[in-house]
């Protein structure tokens, strides 16, 4: 009898009651291991560019403004929160925090910039060893790519027309060859 089905449906609905969370009024903490906003620890960062060169969404950029100062910029607006940067960081300077409430009017609120004082290895002593197995070489073998702040817009808005010299440029556009081990 289909009427029994209707009664059963009523029973399920009334037994369960309201399951919707009162979320914005009552906070819902994220579970352990949640991949929220990545946070950089500037005291640990050695400026190796591992995060920048392996970010699938290209949201981390580096620029050397002089011999000794390197700027790392994280632009969260296109971040996919995959957590690849935190995985790869050799110094564990990046943590995926549990902060997920990132809606904002201003892009600046979710942009992080670190100014790094770069030294040669003999002076800082903690960057990396110069043996063949160092982190930089390892990252390079995974497809190292140097992004500059000037070409921050990886996704171009428009190429006004189909230009032949644009085509030529793209033909040679590539990454450095992989290093032989």
């Amino acid at each position: 009898m289909w009427i029994w089905n209707k009664i059963k449906q009523l029973a399920i609905s009334s037994r369960t009651g309201v399951v919707t969370l009162r979320y914005p009024f009552k906070p819902r903490p994220a579970p352990a291991g949640f991949r929220g906003q990545p946070v950089w620890d500037h005291t640990k960062c050695i400026g190796c560019a591992g995060c920048a060169s392996n970010c699938p969404a290209r949201t981390i950029f580096l620029r050397d403004i002089c011999q000794e100062i390197r700027i790392l910029l994280y632009d969260s607006s296109r971040c996919t929160y995959c957590g690849r940067c935190a995985d790869l960081c050799p110094e564990k300077a990046i943590t995926m925090s549990d902060n997920f409430e990132l809606a904002t009017d201003s892009r600046q609120d979710i942009t992080q910039t670190i100014e790094l004082f770069m030294m040669t290895c003999q002076r800082c002593g903690r960057c990396y060893d110069l043996e063949i197995k160092n982190y930089l070489d390892k990252l390079q073998s995974l497809g190292y790519r140097y992004d500059s702040l000037e070409v921050r817009k990886v996704i171009r808005q428009s190429t006004a027309e189909f230009e032949t010299d644009l085509l030529e440029k793209t033909a040679t556009y590539g990454r450095p060859e992989k290093l032989e081990k």
Binding site: I12, F34, R84, S158, T170
Partner: protein
């Protein structure tokens, strides 16, 4: 002699000099190169031995001096064998004979490369534009190497897709391209005579983003899994696993058993949430919102489970080439088991409460009927095929990850309609729960400190082919991969299950009522879109005129004032 060698010898004997090269090094796969004149003959030979057509892949092979290439892949489901046949055509005469007259399911695959590579297919019955937007300039073929991935030609006004003329005596109701309740835009021009559907034309690919081109020009091997899982908002993990498997197949990399079990668990968790999501959407489409609310309530527990296992509700980001990123330890396994127990209990209660409801039966039985023969002809996959008596399931036929070690049944129904799809998907919920439980038991036997990911030794050599299938909740997903230089694939082709299934929708719609349109299109689990404007068709001349919003309002006001 294995089945693969036997097939290869048989093909060699039949094709003689037309078979140029073969590659048997990959387990479960056979790659052969043939002369382009022998393409149809080879396809017919394979079909005569019971092969199922999967997908066509075109790519630009001019770098290696071979012009443009076309690959067609076939699956031998009873032998766990995948076959890819490849032929080349010179750049100055990019012609192939069309497979579509013999194999209707190849229609889209060929139309795709008319658009993207500038190929020409002789005798193609319907060589219309499929993928590119209507105002894309002629003569620019995005998949050719000289075209940059981010090329955006200026938009053109006054260009529109030319829909076919409606059959005489019928009118056109346009559905689409946008609808509030589902996630993809598509346009259906449905031909109706009164309430009955007499045919339909589809114009889609409005969200084609060129992800394959991006992978071949910008991304690297290890970045693609994170982009791949964003192909689909429902079965993302399927795509990242399948891509990783294709790369591992091409690189002949063997991953650890523990990683394979973890991948299996995540795939099945994804299947659970997808089936429940679909059940809810199907209920919603037939106006039965109790099903929608309750199915999604049950699903939410699974979403939270996935969140605590991987760090995100949906884009798990757990798969990398060579393994997985996160472990499922004893504590997490206990948590999964507990939640699955609750889900199973809730699901049984829900099933009992709706299984005899008249509303469901009346709206789904004999709706969207498509015979088993037609289903084979269109090479349907997934629950849509299994509802038509075809026992095909990539998990059983082409075991990957850890599916060779778990026991489960392929759920089949024979009612050939939407009801059958519903039954299959509900039964698969219980199968998925049992598979996860089996996996967790086997996972407990593998030492916890065994490695999760295997590292590649040296670069992946260029020019190697990889082919992999994964059974997504909606059906079989095929990934074809050709390795390239610069640490990225030269060609990566994704075929989602909707690709073959949607091609059969016009046949499913035939002679149904217009009110059943949403549930029929919804039954294959894509998205459908609703009417945003009305076209008035003169029955005799079949010439159309689109009413503006103002005209429509005036017309309805006039009607109302009359009555």
């Amino acid at each position: 002699m294995s089945r693969k060698e036997e097939l290869l010898n048989w093909l060699k004997e039949k094709l003689k000099g037309d078979l140029l090269a073969e590659d048997v090094s990959r387990e479960k796969c056979l790659f052969i190169d043939i002369k382009k004149e022998a393409l149809i003959e080879t396809a017919q030979l394979l079909l005569s031995r019971g092969a199922r057509y999967q997908v066509g892949v075109g790519y630009d092979a001019r770098k290696s001096g071979q012009g443009l290439a076309m690959v067609h892949t076939f699956a031998f489901d009873s032998d766990a064998l995948l076959v890819a046949i490849r032929a080349y055509t010179p750049e100055d005469k990019p012609e192939f004979d069309s497979l579509t007259p013999t194999l209707p399911g190849a229609g889209w695959s060929e139309r795709e490369y008319i658009d993207l590579l500038g190929l020409h297919f002789n005798n193609h019955p319907n060589p219309k534009r499929l993928i590119l937007s209507d105002d894309w300039p002629e003569g620019i073929y995005p998949l050719r190497q000289e075209v940059p991935y981010d090329l955006m030609p200026p938009a053109a006004e006054d260009v529109a897709f030319r829909l076919d003329e409606a059959p005489p005596g019928s009118s056109i109701i346009p559905f689409g391209p946008f609808h509030a309740c589902l996630h993809e835009p598509a346009h259906f021009a449905v031909y109706v005579d009164g309430e009955e559907i007499k045919g339909c034309e589809y114009r889609g690919f409005m969200v084609h983003r060129g992800i394959e081109k991006l992978a071949a020009t910008e991304l690297t091997y290890s970045e693609i899994p994170f982009v791949a899982e964003r192909i689909c908002g429902i079965c993302g993990s399927v795509h990242s696993v399948n891509y990783a498997q294709a790369v591992e197949s091409a690189a002949e990399l063997k991953i650890s058993r523990r990683a394979e079990f973890i991948r299996t668990v995540m795939l099945e968790i994804e299947r659970l949430h997808s089936h429940l999501l679909w059940l809810g959407v199907a209920g919603h489409l037939i106006g039965f919102d109790t099903v929608f609310m309750q199915a999604w309530r049950i699903r939410e527990k699974i979403m939270w489970l996935a969140e605590s296992l991987t760090g995100n509700r949906k884009t798990y980001g757990i798969v990398i080439i060579g393994g997985v990123r996160r472990d499922i330890n004893r504590e997490k396994a206990g948590q999964i088991k507990k939640i699955l127990g609750e889900v199973e209990k809730d699901m049984l209660a829900l099933e009992k409460a709706i299984v005899k409801d008249k509303a469901i039966h009346r709206r789904t039985r004999d709706v969207g009927y498509l015979s088993k023969e037609k289903a084979i002809e269109w090479s349907l996959v997934g629950p849509v095929a299994r509802a038509r008596g075809l026992a095909i399931d990539a998990r059983k036929d082409h075991p990957y990850a850890a599916y060779d070690e778990v026991k489960f049944d392929v759920q089949v129904a024979d009612s050939c309609d939407v009801w059958g799809t519903l039954v299959v998907r509900v039964k698969e919920v219980y199968e998925a729960i049992s598979i996860i439980n089996q996996c967790l038991e086997k996972l407990a036997l593998i030492p916890e400190n065994s490695p999760l990911a295997v590292e590649l030794e040296g670069p992946i050599p260029a020019g190697r082919q990889g082919l992999s299938v994964v059974e997504a909740p909606r059906g079989e997903v095929v990934h074809y991969l050709l390795t390239g230089d610069d640490n990225r694939p030269e060609r990566w082709r994704v075929r989602a299950p909707t690709y073959p299934n949607l091609q059969a929708v016009p046949d499913m719609l035939l002679n149904n009522r217009l009110a059943d349109f949403p549930i029929i299109v919804g039954s294959i689990d894509p998205c459908f879109s609703c009417t945003d404007r009305v076209v008035v068709i003169d029955r005799k001349s079949a010439s159309g005129k689109i009413l503006s919003q103002q005209e429509l309002e005036n017309l309805s006001r006039k009607m109302r004032s009359k009555s």
